[in-house]
């Protein structure tokens, strides 16, 4: 019997390959291409329009000598750490509470989730209004008799970032809760039973058994939150515009302002390259953990 030649690999599953063209285009041209383009131009002195006049690391030099950028980074750190911790903690606690076979579970879940449907612009506006010292929480509590009560995050440089955090958590924790809930529901019921038979208190069961078992969910949410943090922009713009002063500036806003407002594209590109670097620092260990060790079956 004759040994047939192997047909050309290119044409096997041709339809699948054709169907994947949009993805390939997006991945290669937009994401990879766009990123490389941005990185390359961050080494030039492009102003309003991109041009290839190399200036080496000058843009980065300037970037790291700009106090606004430094403050942006600091803010991002504070916002990032707190929003990570609080999102996870609140999200998990809410999910755990909802998982207690309670009544009105759907109602509560909807309440926690609905802010996710609203944009950051809306979120920022509402919280700006609620935290407004002349009308909002502060004035209401003062009216109730606590004359000296002060809660004015949006106009106090030291704590403005926490004002933004409150709004950010309001918008985002619902989704985290949802993911956690799905994770909790995915845990083998027998483990709970085993723990009860062993006489392990509920909080210990959560802490030492359930949470470690939910590692994949935690990683997913972690990446989700982290990527959101790096990108935070609309919220700050809507809520404080970076104020008071530059106390609530964030990197994304810096980049945007430099690129379009300051008409210094290269400076903006340098900033965004740094952001990208941050993302990579977060992502690569994750990707390694998720995909490096074991192949998908």
């Amino acid at each position: 019997m004759a040994r047939d030649g192997r047909p050309l690999q290119l044409f096997r599953n041709l339809n699948a390959k054709i169907a994947a063209i949009p993805m390939i285009f997006t991945a290669v041209v937009i994401f990879a291409g766009g990123t490389i383009w941005t990185v390359v131009y961050s080494f030039t002195d492009s102003k309003l329009l991109p041009r290839l006049r190399w200036v080496g690391l000058d843009q980065y030099d300037r970037l790291w000598n700009t106090s606004r950028w430094i403050i942006s980074i600091e803010n991002l750190m504070i916002y990032g750490v707190f929003s990570l911790v609080f999102s996870l903690v609140i999200g998990f606690v809410l999910a755990a509470l909802l998982d207690q076979k309670i009544r009105f579970e759907n109602t509560f879940r909807t309440i926690f989730l609905y802010p996710f449907a609203l944009s950051f612009i809306v979120t920022g506006l509402v919280w700006q209004w609620i935290l407004n010292p002349d009308f909002g929480v502060q004035s209401v509590i003062r009216d109730l008799g606590w004359e000296s009560f002060t809660f004015d995050p949006l106009y106090t440089a030291d704590i403005v970032i926490y004002g933004i955090l409150i709004a950010g958590l309001w918008q985002g924790t619902g989704l985290i809760m949802c993911l956690m809930l799905a994770g909790l529901r995915g845990i083998d019921e027998d483990v709970w039973k085993a723990a009860r038979v062993d006489g392990i208190p509920i909080w210990k069961t959560y802490l030492f058994i359930i949470i470690p078992m939910m590692r994949p969910v935690f990683i997913t949410t972690l990446v989700l939150i982290a990527s959101g943090i790096v990108r935070v922009y609309d919220l700050v713009v809507a809520q404080t515009s970076g104020g008071p002063g530059i106390a609530s500036e964030v990197p994304a806003k810096y980049v945007y302002d430099k690129m379009f407002l300051g008409q210094n594209l290269a400076q903006g590109f340098a900033g965004s390259t740094m952001m990208l670097l941050t993302v990579l620092i977060v992502l690569i260990p994750w990707a390694y953990l998720e995909f490096g060790g074991k192949r998908r079956v």
């Binding site: 994947a20 991945a27 994401f31 990123t35 004035s139 690129m259």
Partner: protein, 314 residues
């Protein structure tokens, strides 16, 4: 059920019971409705629920007050005199520059932007996810990895290159340009979602269909699509809210007569004429949020289920 077998046993053991003191608890364990545990659970949930609801409440009451009342009263007090004027103004009268038709125009623009964007992005992403899940070909993983990394690239990095790409394609400023942008930026997360979902479907179904002689598209339309309602709902919700809420792309890749609602909202809120009209702003904010909110309230349950199916596993 009348079963003598079990009756016998019952009868035999009845004697045994009589021998014993039939004391001690029986039946279900008594449960206090208001146990400490319940107080804790419901208490916490209620407090948190209030935190989540306050903004909505404030938006609502503020939007129903007149300006004088706002200036004097506190933001939490219900309106003394309910007025719908702010809603009317926000919808139809608020001015940006010379255009005094409020959000109404933006609403229809948003609809016109959202529908094709949602349809196209879901269509493209679902086919991609399907190709990745079931028709793995050489190199697909590389592209997919790049794509997923793309999900985490700050948008700012991409803004300028996309301007150039759209210009080269001649799509800049047109509705289709924006649709394309939404499709592109929706792709990573949607593709991931669809890929995970399709992977979680039994692979044997796909194999059976291939043996039955169905091709790429036939399997997609006849086998996969009908089974994927939950994930399509999730994708739809994510996209409708995401695209509806989008500001950055809407403002950069459109022009004034096609501005989506969020941009109009921003214009109205920022076009301060004299004092800030908080009531109008809140009404406008609510109006802008109505569409995604309604979608959430209607299909929240499906969303949660779909998230569990598509996001957590895989």
């Amino acid at each position: 059920m009348s079963n003598p077998g079990s009756l016998n046993i019952a009868a035999a053991s009845l004697d045994a019971v009589k021998d014993r003191i039939d004391g001690g608890p029986r039946g279900p364990r008594p449960r206090k409705r208001i146990s400490r545990r319940n107080i804790f659970i419901y208490g916490t949930l209620l407090v948190v629920a209030i935190y989540y609801l306050v903004p909505l409440y404030v938006m609502l009451v503020t939007s129903l007050k007149g300006m004088p009342e706002i200036r004097l009263g506190n933001i939490f007090s219900p309106p003394v005199e309910i007025t719908f004027q702010p809603w009317v103004k926000a919808w139809a009268e608020a001015c940006t520059g010379l255009n005094c038709d409020g959000l109404s125009r933006g609403f229809w623009n948003s609809v016109r932007i959202t529908i094709p964007s949602v349809v196209l992005s879901i269509a493209v992403a679902s086919v991609n996810g399907y190709a990745l899940a079931n028709w793995r070909f050489r190199g697909a993983d590389v592209f997919f990895t790049i794509l997923i990394f793309g999900a985490f690239i700050p948008y700012q990095v991409m803004l300028y290159p996309i301007v150039i790409i759209l210009r080269e394609m001649g799509l800049y400023g047109s509705l289709w340009g924006l649709v394309l942008v939404h499709t592109i930026f929706g792709m990573p997360i949607l593709t991931l979602l669809f890929r995970n979902y399709f992977t979680s479907l039994p692979e044997e179904l796909f194999k059976a269909a291939r043996v039955d002689g169905a091709g790429f598209w036939s399997i997609y339309f006849r086998i996969m699509l009908p089974m994927s309602l939950p994930i399509f709902v999730v994708a739809m919700i994510l996209q409708v809210t995401g695209i509806w809420n989008d500001f950055l792309f809407g403002v950069i890749y459109t022009k004034p007569d096609t501005y989506p609602m969020t941009v109009q909202l921003n214009n109205i809120v920022n076009s301060v004429q004299g004092v800030k009209e908080y009531n109008v702003n809140m009404a406008a904010t609510l109006l802008t949020g109505v569409v995604p909110l309604v979608i959430y309230f209607i299909s929240g349950k499906l969303f949660v289920r779909g998230i569990a199916a598509g996001a957590v596993k895989g």
